[in-house]
């Protein structure tokens, strides 16, 4: 219960900071906040077609990052793995145009997951073989992925006329079904499924226990737990890459229906905050993902209706992260003092 109150408190502080920032910048804070609220949580349509649609990639990436972070492996390359998944899904969709829907939905999801995992395989091998820090290698591969997308949409996957730097729209049969009258696509099922499964796996199974042990104390996990630390971290990294890839695939097949540059408005990075704020807890990641999805949705509404630059919402995100981290730090200090 206290966790819920704390979350509400953090949210209110962040909105207060946003209002103050808007006032300082010369915008009307009341109108700004009203537009933010209206376009994120103000109506069923805002919920289903803006907030939740943006929450889906944040949550799925966040769930994967939560796994990696728990194992003490720092995957900062979700943005690139997301792109790899998006490319793979687009390519797959193009070749399987006439396949029956459910088959292609599963196939594109599977292929994009594998693509995301393969994208993180390079850092994994570098880490295990040469001890290269994954923080750096995953981050750098983001730029490579960006160039890959750029090449794809101007080369192999470019639309037939060859004018625009984007792919042709994917065939209708491959597109994920949406809830009638909304833009909420099948990806929401993945969110619920993955969140629940990971919650159970982490808390109740041997594998989840090993993951936590490795992240908490790698030396003790290896000596006292006889756990192959490198293997567990590699598996967690591959899973996190796979989930980021899946998110990229779902974005193409469920939302954009084509591949283009800057497909992700930084989902791979925002998801890091989502995972950390939720203290890596799968169900918490779902809640935090919806919260950040609402902010992203509200931001574009605020820009549209009140003429306030959407980046103003970065203030909110930053405030939430800072306040949440401070709260976390205070608890740590308290815990240490008790001991």
């Amino acid at each position: 219960m206290t966790a819920v109150w704390r979350a509400i408190g953090v949210g209110l502080i962040a909105l207060g900071v946003l209002a103050a920032t808007l006032a300082v910048l010369g915008f009307d804070p009341v109108a700004g906040l009203a537009a933010l609220g209206r376009n994120s949580v103000g109506s069923w349509y805002a919920w289903s077609s803006a907030t939740l649609v943006r929450a889906i990639p944040l949550i799925i990436i966040g769930l994967g990052l939560g796994l990696a972070f728990r194992a003490g492996a720092f995957n900062i390359g979700a943005e690139g793995q997301f792109a790899a998944g998006a490319i793979a899904a687009t390519g797959t969709a193009m070749v399987m145009g006439s396949w029956p829907g459910p088959v292609s939905w599963v196939a594109t999801a599977a292929v994009s997951t594998v693509a995301g995992a393969l994208w993180v395989l390079i850092p994994v091998v570098l880490k295990l073989r040469l001890g290269v820090l994954e923080v750096i290698s995953t981050l750098l591969l983001n730029f490579v992925a960006e160039q890959m997308v750029s090449w794809m949409v101007q080369g192999p996957l470019q639309e037939p006329q060859g004018i625009y730097p984007q792919s042709a729209p994917i065939p209708a049969d491959v597109r994920l079904p949406v809830l009638a009258g909304t833009r909420l696509h099948l990806g929401v099922v993945w969110v619920i499924l993955l969140g629940t499964v990971l919650w159970i796996v982490i808390g109740r199974t041997r594998w989840g226990f090993r993951l936590r042990a490795v992240g908490e104390a790698p030396v003790a996990a290896s000596v006292a737990g006889r756990i192959p630390v490198g293997g567990v971290q590699a598996a967690a990294l591959l899973l996190s890459g796979g989930l980021a890839g899946l998110a990229g695939g779902l974005e193409v097949t469920g939302v954009t229906y084509s591949l283009y540059q800057n497909l992700s408005p930084g989902y791979g990075f925002t998801a890091i905050a989502v995972a950390l704020i939720a203290r890596l807890h799968p169900l918490g990641i779902i809640v935090a993902g919806v919260g950040f999805g609402a902010l992203e949705a509200g931001a574009s509404g605020m820009q549209r209706e009140a003429g306030i630059p959407a980046v103003a919402v970065n203030v909110v995100q930053a405030t939430i992260i800072i306040v949440a981290l401070l709260a976390l730090r205070k608890r740590r200090v308290a815990a240490v003092a008790e001991a």
Partner: protein, 469 residues
Amino acid sequence: MTAALALHGVSKAFGTNRALNDVSFAVGRGEVHALVGENGAGKSTLMRVAFGLIPPDAGEVTIDGNAARVESPRVARAAGVGMVHQHFTSIGSFTVEENLWLAAGRVGHPSGRPPISNATAVDELRAALWRGLDRTAAAETLPVSAKQRLELLQALATGADILLLDEPTALLAPAEIEALLALLRSFARGGGAVVLISHKLSDVFAVADRITVLRRGRVVLEGRRSELTSPEVAAAMVGGEIEPPPAPAATGAVRIEAGPLRVQAGEVVGIAAIEGNGQRSLLRALAGLEPMASGWRSEAPVAFLPGDRTTEGLIAGFSLTENLVLGHDRDARWTRGPWIDWGEAERWMGVLIDRFEIKAGSPRVPVSSLSGGNQQKVLFAKIAASSPAVVIAENPTRGLDFKATVELHHELRRLASTGVAVLFHSPDLDEVLSHSDRVVVLRGGELLPVRSTATRAEVGTMMAAGVGG
């Protein structure tokens, strides 16, 4: 005679914990005064007050009879007091000389002699410590014994003739300990004053003129060494008699074989070795954590007690229950297939808490909230729960106080008496000799059998032969 350093009625509380309660303590010139007690008895706190690191709540410090406001180590150093801390304080990347410059501070170059009353004793000790020490070597490249000598030189760098030593022998080999204690003796003869903190009674009785025992922040025993006995001091430290160890058991099948090293079920075998002679690899290989040499054998299941409890043996942030499951996550008592039944694991941990008398609020509290002795009990509970054929313990008493050490040796013996083969190593030769049925020496990675009639000196020679320094 006025005391070189005296503390009068010192009290200090940390929160609700009264670390020192009206403690008076004095050391005179020409004297080695041992300060002994359990972990948390207040020994280090008392010396930190004397050195100006901690302001006392009540009481005063006098140096050479003058009341001194020792409000910082700088004041203490200027008054001729030097302290050697329990942990090394030298900077690894600095050379020996640079570290000494740093320690000397404003006084200037360490070889330049500041004006002090007992220059000879200090100089003699300095000269002895310098022997064989390369002034241009980086501190991190020095062997442990040389690092310890550097610590002493740092304490002496400001010309101190009152030395406060906090567990200076903890990491040294037997011959090195003897050498150091002899140096301290002659330093005191020459007019220096030494306070020696230790919980190794053998060191204390070898060198001290006076002994003060602290327990729970109070002085419980104080007297001349010649008037005290070792059991008397031990009893004062723990506040009661020490129960005798369980009797050795009959031995059974051979469980460990590694060249001349053979451990049978029911016996405790000790490995005597100076730091860095391959004991880490040997024990870890036999524990199945590193590859074994051909022809070696160690019967499963093996339980391993690593040298570093908090970083290798336990996960500090995990609960007791989680630590029980660590390494035993396939145990049928709480694991079915991939599923861990945490309720069942917690029930088992509760049983073990009672059986091993672990002082913990519940099986759910983090292990980090337990004292060192209780953490060691958690490790034993884990071992007991896994019913091993072989137990391998690497320096198991490291950081434990007197009472916990005694309990640990009893526990190893109890394990042996239930038919377990126990192999252990300690850098303290006396510990190895007094708690093993048989001893094997490890030198330069080579195992050497020891005759059952070998004396302590003979074993010591075997350990050191061919080792430089």
